[in-house]
Subunit: 115 residues, 2 copies
DNA sequence: TCATTTGCTACATTTTTGATAGCAAAACTA
DNA sequence: TAGTTTTGCTATCAAAAATGTAGCAAATGA
């Protein structure tokens, strides 16, 4: 699975539009979860493993590799950390948290949930 | 693969926090791409297939099913459309588009790209 | 009525992910 | 400084998810 980057064809989009590369990258298992978690502060490999309860070390490692190649994550003395780009991305993701809690979750509470 | 919903344990998070359910849902192949595309207007199944160049009808169908169960997409006479929730979500996703284009893509242009 | 189009299922193959074991290097500890 | 932990990560195999292709039944159009 090759790392999606802007300007390169990615899963399902040959145009290489940056947003498509980003959606491909973030659409892989745990990618957003890792970014989400790292915003709290640096984490070691094992801490990330614990956080992502069911991730395998293989997947965690490839995902970290992709995020590094895409300049969202890097290593520091304290462990893995978000880069500046990573933090910016988190800040774009962040509003989804409150929306999910305050708006989206409500839509499941209506009585007689269809389907 | 069961549909992630707020309040239910999802891939790697037993707490059922809405954001975790959302990240699980959106982290599946093509989920964000479908939302992204549908914001342009209603699409038929075949149009979505064309848009997501390499998606298989099987996957498209399950993904649409999940998005419907989660109140982001519904069917209309004109085809599949975003619900109000779906449009709200798109609007949260939208800033990622310009960030990817104007900020993130730049990070790949530096001379001597490492790695 | 006959040909298209549409939404979707079936099924075999490939790709991705998970689970588990475990190793080499670094960091403690006694 | 020898022994124990911890840490980052690889290897391997099984399970799950996605793809590719064919094709069918219902709706639409000519």
């Amino acid at each position: 699975m090759n790392t999606p980057k802007p300007g390169m064809p990615v899963r399902g989009s040959k145009t290489g539009q940056p947003i498509m590369a980003l959606l491909d990258l973030l659409g892989r298992s745990w990618a957003m979860g890792i970014v989400w978690h790292l915003y709290q502060g640096p984490s070691t490999f094992r801490e990330l493993q614990d956080y992502c309860e069911s991730i395998s070390p293989t997947t965690l490692n490839t995902r970290l590799g992709e995020l590094k190649k895409c300049h969202l994550v890097e290593r520091s003395l304290a462990g893995y950390v978000l880069t500046e780009y990573g933090r910016e991305l988190y800040e774009l993701l962040e509003p989804m948290g409150s929306w999910a809690r305050h708006r989206w979750a409500k839509s499941f509470e209506e009585k007689g949930s269809k389907k």
